[in-house]
Amino acid sequence: MNDRVIAYQHGIYPRSEDLVAATRGLERARASQHEVDERIDADLADFVRTQRDAGLDCFSDGLLRWHDIFRPLVRVSKGVDARTLVRWFDNNSFFRAPEITQRPSVESNLPAVFDSRTLVPEPRLATLPSPYLFSRAADTQRHRNDLMRELARYVLRPVVEGLAERGYRVVHLQEPWLTFFGIEPSDWASFEEALQELREATAANQMTFVLHTYFGNAIPVVDRLRRMPVDAVGVDLVETDLDAFKGRWEMGLLLGCLDGRSSTVEPLDGSVRLVQRIADALEPSALYLSSNCELEFLPREVAKRKVLRLGEIARHVRGTP
């Protein structure tokens, strides 16, 4: 197991106080776009340093230019707009619901937000919305399962292929909808089809493909999830008792082992014990460690401590503290 423990930080990472002030200044015409860009680069360099210090195995750009998990994809897609603010699950955080009025498709090349190659070392990790989440969070009159397949084929797949060309090696899909709101039995086949679309793109490019559920208990859906065409399935250990799962886990398993919504950093010993216990019991083909959700609900300094703790947990689980 030791050589198959991979730690990375997914999702939108919080901005520094300086960057928050700069973006506020830009909106009030008291700062320039150039100043904001410089702050973003500084934040990105700092986040890369944190990931290195933590000893993480893949590097994220922290999605520092993203306003929410959909926005850059909305901006480069035909037939998609974003206006209405909607609560992001049970958080004091809001996204603009993608408004989809026709078959969506990526209009231009890869969104500029991914163009941080010079600052982010390889191997790189990209976080994208799962097609199920995307289709359910959308404001649309279209049939949602049709939309889910279209989003996978015409929006997410071209983006994944673009990412492969740019040195990204892990595609991490965020899927909180499934475990927060649930899924109808009749929707699984379409979801699988949508994931298969992306699976073909990741497999052709030797990318690792992770589907990560969070904000809810994964146990009720875990059997079905394990038959999905992905390399690993992620679960949120804040909400899920994996001790309740019996049997072997014959694929990759991502453990969301740090609470991205709590300002208290989890104790090292307890976290290592928990991860080790699950790994020993389930024997996954590869073990991925990350936070249970994106860290943007935390102030940056707290998030930084969590990322460093993630690295510590990974080293202890590998037996190389």
């Binding site: 300002s263 208290t264 609900f297 935390l298």
Partner: protein, 396 residues
């Protein structure tokens, strides 16, 4: 008090809802940053446009920068006058000052409470962030934190006042809990952690209601406040805690001698039912709907999808008034008077009673420029006039 009850019974009453953006001259002068010509011009032009009495004195004060502490406090009061006049000039029936003297609705309350420590900025949406604190000790009121502004506003306002006060549940929801939640070890069983979390949350929310909000409300009432709005934008964040939200409202206001209303926004409002059936002390719910609505004219169910839920407010057993949000505060789109009219007439048709409908923005307009905020409010008042005309109601 009786005059407040009279005002509340006015059909299609228009009122303020929360904060306005802070003018650059206020922000800079208060922060000790040098003002430029544009700031002075902004103070002058809005002073003239809103007919702020004696606004030349503000220009004189700004010209003395850098300001000492007393002068900086005076700048804040000028900002209050401007905010108040903006709402009065737009024609609102009930006003406040756009919370010009407060730092922010959450930060202001926390800064006047014991038991918190600041942790840093967290995103709410887009590029909008708020400072988030952690609860680190027992909660109590350090000092009443709206009395000074209320006393000042009462001395300068021409229209009746409603005091917005951030509610207990929202303060709890927007804070980290490092005090009541004792154990953060994920190795504990989920059910045990969840039980601890719920118990800790309940203790925190009710302690905020009884030890922070209630004494602050009592201080306002002692000073003469008669209508107080508890702002609870976080109320439906956790659908499993709506009973706790209702309990916290009741603990905050039960037995106090004033009219209490609450403001809810950016939520799935269906979640509030049936929990708010027990919120008997709430005379009015001010709720944001325009964000979810279409922008085309029309008064049918199909034309007004953002207002589909209002019949559930109509059917509440204690027959509260609905403060109908008709302005999308997250967009520079200026609602026409006709669009406002149609939203109102749809709601009046659903309620069958214009006396149970008040008219307001979805939420505070602080993310909009003053030019946009003012025009939205002017059109809102114009829309009310159109609606009243169709309903045959007095324009007074």
């Amino acid at each position: 008090m009786s005059s407040t009850r009279d005002i509340l019974s006015k059909p299609l009453l228009t009122h303020e809802l929360g904060s306005l953006d802070k003018p650059s001259w206020r922000v800079k002068a208060y922060a000790g940053v040098a003002l430029d010509e544009r700031d002075i011009e902004e103070a002058l032009s809005w002073g003239m446009r809103l007919e702020v009495p004696d606004h030349e004195r503000l220009l004189d004060l700004l010209g003395r920068s850098p300001l000492d502490d007393a002068q900086r406090q005076e700048v804040r009061r000028w900002s209050s006058r401007y905010g108040l006049r903006l709402e009065e000039s737009a024609g609102l029936d009930v006003v406040y000052d756009g919370e010009q003297q407060r730092s922010e609705m959450y930060a202001w309350a926390v800064a006047h409470a014991n038991g918190f420590e600041w942790r840093g900025s967290v995103r709410a949406f887009d590029n909008k962030y708020y400072s988030k604190a952690a609860v680190t000790g027992p909660i109590s009121l350090r000092e009443p934190y709206h009395n000074a502004e209320f006393a000042f506003l009462r001395s300068v306002a021409g229209a009746p006042l409603k005091v917005p006060v951030t509610g207990a549940y929202t303060i709890a929801d927007w804070s980290f809990d490092e005090y009541f939640i004792r154990d953060h070890d994920l190795a504990l069983p989920v059910a045990e952690r969840r039980k601890q979390r719920h118990e800790a949350r309940r203790t925190l929310v009710l302690e905020l209601a009884s030890n922070l909000i209630r004494p602050n409300l009592q201080a306002l009432i002692d000073l003469g406040a008669t209508w107080i709005q508890l702002d609870e934008p976080g109320a439906s964040t956790d659908p499993e805690e709506l009973d706790l939200f209702v309990e916290s409202f009741n603990v905050s206001v039960d037995g106090l001698d004033a009219v209490f209303s609450t403001h809810l926004c950016f939520s799935d409002y269906d979640l509030f039912f049936p929990a708010i059936e027990r919120m008997h002390g709430c005379r009015q719910f001010a709720v944001g709907f325009a964000n979810y609505d279409r922008r085309e004219l029309g008064r049918s169910d199909e034309a007004r999808p953002g207002y589909a839920v209002i019949k559930r407010f109509r059917d509440l057993p204690y027959r509260p008034i609905l403060g109908l949000g008709v302005l999308d505060i997250h967009s520079d789109f200026i609602e026409s008077p006709e669009l406002v009219r149609d939203r109102i007439l749809y709601a009046v048709d659903v309620f069958g009673d214009p006396y149970r409908i008040h008219v307001t923005a979805d939420c505070g307009l602080r993310t909009r420029s003053w030019a946009v905020a003012f025009q939205k409010l002017v059109n809102m008042v114009a829309g009310v006039r159109l609606a009243k005309r169709e309903l045959g109601l007095s324009q007074v």
